[in-house]
């Protein structure tokens, strides 16, 4: 075990484990090692080590969940309104941890990392990883940080899948789970959308069967995949409010230039995405989401008592992870008599709501966490 780059108190750190001859045994049966996770922490772990909250990022996120790294950074972390001093996930009160997922491309081991066997980036040599493997890696990080049991594991979208996976893999290591705008399993529609994105990447000649690290990456394909993604993150109504049919210039160009604002927005989103994201990671992570399935007895084993508390949140205009998928989670919680809360927030933002409806989410998460912390303190005294 090594802990490298002891940077400033706020910043990304790296934890490497499963070094040879050990390795991380993946769900597919393959071994991977060494594995590095990029992670950030906020606040302090208390003496009883019962105030740690793990925040899991969504598909394209990273470990940088809150605050600014440098004074001249343009944007704060991806959930800065939710995580930080005095906010709902209060770093004055909780020890907040966020790590880049296994298979990602923001500091953790993924297909763009160097394969120790060849000295070159893995590309398609990288083994397939699943949400369970991502959680397995996070559990090793928790061991390393001295956290036996999380006060809560929270996340939206694919972050919510990881939160649910924690409940399935390590029911004794969590006090509370906060799955937001997520699902027990990808539906055929969700798999189909992912497959269209993957095919967009793979149809780009620059993809070169994943072997592009010393040449031009498949920017066109990845940008197209991201454009499709962004359509699924919004709702018809939020697109109407944001763009309507507004034009970039006053008149139609009668060409395939970007006449409409919505076209310009999607192209901008696509182009900025390729600067920060690896195309192979896109393929691996979407596949991990498609493999995810905790339906039936897989979330809670047969006859198992659910000890963790749950706060399940869904949004009404979210058609990518519609509220009825959250209701399926709630159904399992009812069947097990779990201590659980469910809220469907009225929002027009679509799937993006989990990053935007901060006020409502904060009201729920702040008090739910406070109650969980209260119960944790009481049961230990």
């Amino acid at each position: 075990m090594t802990l490298s780059a002891d940077g400033p108190c706020i910043g990304t750190r790296y934890f490497t484990f499963a070094e040879p001859p050990d390795g991380l045994l993946l769900e597919s049966g393959r071994m991977l090692g060494p594995v590095t996770l990029a992670y950030e922490t906020y606040g302090l772990l208390n003496k009883r080590k019962n105030n740690a909250v793990l925040v899991c990022h969504a598909f394209s996120g990273n470990a940088h969940v809150s605050d600014y790294h440098r004074a001249d950074d343009k944007n704060p972390g991806w959930w800065d309104d939710m995580v930080g001093p005095g906010r709902a996930i209060d770093s004055d009160r909780y020890f907040v941890v966020c790590s880049n997922i296994l298979g990602g491309c923001a500091g953790s081991t993924g297909p763009s990392s160097v394969n120790p066997a060849t000295g070159k980036p893995f590309g398609l040599e990288f083994p397939m990883v699943t949400v369970r493997d991502m959680v397995e890696a996070q559990a090793r990080l928790a061991d390393h940080l001295g956290i036996d049991r999380w006060l809560a594991v929270a996340g939206g979208s694919m972050g919510g899948m990881q939160a649910l996976q924690w409940a399935a893999s390590y029911p004794d290591r969590i006090r509370a789970v906060i799955p937001i705008a997520t699902t027990l399993k990808h539906s055929p529609q969700q798999i189909a959308l992912d497959e269209v994105g993957r095919q967009a990447v793979m149809a780009d000649a620059d993809w070169n069967r994943g072997n592009y690290y010393s040449r031009r990456p498949p920017e066109k394909g990845l940008a197209l995949a991201r454009m499709i993604g962004h359509i699924t993150y919004m709702s018809d109504r939020s697109m109407e409010e944001k763009f309507s049919r507004r034009l970039k210039d006053e008149k139609y160009s009668y060409s395939f230039a970007t006449d409409f604002e919505v076209e310009g927005y999607l192209r901008y989103r696509g182009d900025s995405f390729v600067k920060r994201f690896d195309a192979n990671s896109y393929l691996y992570i979407t596949k991990a989401m498609d493999y995810f399935d905790l339906s039936g007895d897989r979330l809670f084993g047969n006859g198992q008592t659910v000890k963790a508390r749950f706060l399940v949140i869904a949004f009404h205009s979210d058609w990518l992870y519609p509220f009825y998928q959250s209701r399926e989670i709630v159904h399992l919680l009812k069947m097990r008599g779990a201590d659980a809360t469910y809220c469907e927030i009225q929002s027009t933002y679509g799937h993006d709501a989990f990053l935007l409806e901060i006020e409502e989410e904060s009201r729920l998460i702040r008090h739910f966490l406070a109650k969980t912390a209260d119960l944790a303190d009481r049961c230990e005294t």
Binding site: G337, Y342, C343, R363
Partner: protein, 200 residues
Amino acid sequence: MRLDHRTIYGLIDPGSRVLDLGCGDGELLLCLSEGKGVRGQGVEISEQAVYKCVEKGVSVFHSDIAGGLAGFPDGSFDVAILNQSLQEVQNIGFVLDEALRVCRRAVVGLPNFAHFRARWSLFFRGRAPVTPSLPYDWSDSPNVRFMSMADFKNFCRHRGFRILQANYLGVHGPVSFWPNLLASNGIFLIEKKRDWNGNG
């Protein structure tokens, strides 16, 4: 504590598992968990009320009880509370059947449509009643079912529910005479009648 809450509080055994169907802002469940150590779970249709529950630390499912209680196993709670919520659903029989499937007993709190002030309003003024327990204008009422205390007792008899206890409340306190005329609210503790060989 509100008078109706105080009455219901008295009907709940300490330490029992309570399912509050239409729990509103969670005030009653909070009192029950603090004062009687019950394990409470709320169900509530209003999003704003759900936030208030969570602020109190009350666990709640944001859902419509009219759709039933699918998912909750049979007999998984000791008692259901339906306080001022049953008159807001169309299919009262179905909701009560569901409540008594999931819970051994149910506490039902209902406004009395035959209260003398309601009768006065209808009979002498010819106007839809607005009373302390029925405070809404006819055009703006969440209530869809209007019943008297006698109606509910009759309903229970025909539906096979046994009334274990009936408490009648006026504006200021309990009512013991002519409840169908003088009570503004009734709070009934009911259970399913067993058939002769003990099956529910």
